[in-house]
């Protein structure tokens, strides 16, 4: 799942299908950073400060779509997200383990055999 990490990036992308990169140092708003997605070099201008270990969007994402990291779905956007925005609990929610949504038809019951 995790491959070799390329030196020189300020944020790491784990899989070519990913929508987000993880900051490996404190990143300031307005800063331009370099990431490597697959073989592709991406330049991203930060719209928000992004703390160490937190995620930044590599591309624009509308509200209500799946977000990928490690090449897999880590949740769903709860607001539109622009490239360079901080991606965290304020704009992404988990789909699984949502007892608070039991009976509303929005939990993932039934997907276990997918």
């Amino acid at each position: 799942m995790a491959g070799q990490i390329t030196a020189g990036a300020q944020a790491l992308v784990m899989d070519p299908r990913d929508h987000v990169a993880t900051a490996i140092r404190e990143l300031a708003a307005g800063e331009s950073i370099t990431c490597y997605r697959g073989g592709e070099e991406l330049q991203v201008k930060l719209l928000d400060p992004v703390p160490f270990g937190h995620k930044v969007a590599l591309q624009d994402l509308p509200q209500g779509v799946e977000v990928r990291k490690y090449g897999e779905v880590i949740g769903r956007t709860t607001a539109p997200i622009r490239a360079g925005e901080h991606v965290h609990v304020h704009n992404v929610e988990g789909i699984r383990g949502r007892g608070d949504q039991a009976g509303t038809g929005t939990t993932s019951e039934g997907s276990l055999n997918a």
């Binding site: 799942m1 995790a2 491959g3 070799q4 990490i5 390329t6 030196a7 020189g8 990036a9 790491l12 784990m14 993880t22 900051a23 490996i24 703390p51 160490f52 270990g53 937190h54 995620k55 990291k69 490690y70 897999e72 779905v73 880590i74 949740g75 991606v87 965290h88 609990v89 992404v92 929610e93 988990g94 789909i95 699984r96 383990g97 949502r98 007892g99 608070d100 949504q101 039991a102 939990t107 993932s108 019951e109 276990l112 055999n113 997918a114």
Partner: protein, 386 residues
């Protein structure tokens, strides 16, 4: 050839430590057990909250964890101290541990005449048994005898990026040599179970994996709770983990890439060789205690936020990919693989660093948790008190 230094038990098991374990069958005996372990060096007590007012599967679970901890190959001798009226049967417990051929003594506080006499009696037994254990010499054994648990706790984003993949590489090395690996934390594979299921050795195994995850998820729904308040934990969220799915996907790389041969119950005996999944909570101490009760020799524990957690009977190796935390909590950390994040340490080199530490600890090197005297223990509970 990498070797471990171990103690051959009468049933053929190899222990990498030679503990004298003092087991309270019930919370009422905790104080007596703890006091004896304070009075006799090189003994460890496992105080816990259970052993009485328990029924059915819950009572059985307490018994199995206590018995399994006593049967763990790292334990050379056991003293069981009962109050005398609890639901966990101390003599059945003694019998279950005696099957391994190791030294077992059992008595109850009510019969010997109260706390003072029980402490005196237990101290005499402990001194005598400790002398017997000290006479044993460790011998070299191949690493194929080793079973390790892989666990993460206090995770942050560096866990999924660095320390878990590094531990996974070391887990692959051990399995390649014929050794065994157990991964647990059913809670923390939610959202990543399809990735693990695709690696199961047989369709029956992946069905079991989906079954235990589904059962857990339904329990959470039945409680009407949004898991996100507890998992990712507040610390996980501060560290950059957004959802349970993200946490789970970062978690699973710690078990490497081998096929999963089977799903076993909490505290169930871990089969020798290959990768197994233990149906356990993510709670650090409960999970490590379940692995120890299943017979793991040591546990490798990755953390980004930092934790001092140890175990009563197994060495716990702390591995981190977070440089700042490593420097801040160096008293608690054994291996630092944070250079992976800078691209200056390869995954292979990080895996080798973890593997070298496993080999050293299996040959007798003390972990930071052992040096600091961390002997945490707790039993997963599934039912109400009566």
């Amino acid at each position: 050839m990498t070797t471990l230094m171990g103690y051959r038990r009468p049933n053929g098991d190899i222990g990498i430590r030679n503990h004298l374990l003092i087991i309270p069958t019930v919370i009422c005996s905790n104080q007596v057990c703890s006091r004896i372990s304070q009075l006799v060096p090189e003994t460890v007590a496992i105080p816990h909250q259970h052993g009485c007012s328990q029924i059915g599967a819950d009572k059985d679970r307490t018994f199995e964890v206590l018995a399994g901890t006593g049967r763990n190959p790292n334990v050379g001798g056991v003293i069981i101290i009962s109050l005398g009226c609890e639901v966990v049967d101390p003599h059945a417990l003694a019998e279950s541990i005696r099957e391994t051929g190791k030294l077992v003594e059992v008595f109850d506080i009510q019969s010997v005449g109260g706390s003072v006499k029980a402490i005196q009696h237990g101290t005499e037994i402990a001194r005598r048994m400790r002398a017997q254990l000290d006479a044993m010499q460790p011998e070299p054994f191949p690493m194929s005898e080793l079973i390790i648990g892989v666990k993460c706790g206090g995770s942050d984003a560096t866990s999924g990026l660095a320390s878990n993949p590094a531990l996974g590489a070391a887990a692959d090395t051990l399995i390649g040599l014929g050794g065994g690996v157990v991964i647990g934390e059913t809670t923390e594979i939610i959202g990543a179970e399809h990735v693990l299921a695709s690696r199961c050795a047989a369709p029956g195994v992946s069905d079991q994996l989906y079954h235990i995850v589904g059962r857990f998820e339904r329990e959470v729904e039945r409680m009407g709770a949004d898991m996100r308040g507890g998992n990712p934990s507040p610390g996980n969220i501060a560290g950059g983990l957004t959802t349970i799915e993200e946490k789970s996907l970062g978690c699973i790389s710690k078990c490497g890439t081998a096929p999963i041969r089977g799903v076993i119950e909490y505290a169930e005996r871990i089969p020798k060789g290959g990768l197994y999944f233990m149906d356990s909570p993510g709670n650090d101490i409960e999970c490590v205690s379940g692995m120890a009760a299943g017979g793991a020799h040591l546990v490798c524990f990755t953390t980004g936020r930092g934790t001092p957690t140890g175990s009563a009977v197994v060495p716990v190796i702390k591995i981190t990919g977070n440089k700042q935390m490593y420097l801040r909590m160096s008293d608690n950390m054994d291996v630092d693989v944070s250079d992976m994040l800078e691209g200056t340490m390869s995954l292979e080199a990080a895996g080798a660093a973890v593997w070298e530490e496993i080999a050293a600890v299996a040959a007798g090197k003390l972990t930071k948790a052992e040096i600091l005297g961390h002997t945490e223990f707790s039993i997963n509970r599934i039912g109400p008190s009566l």
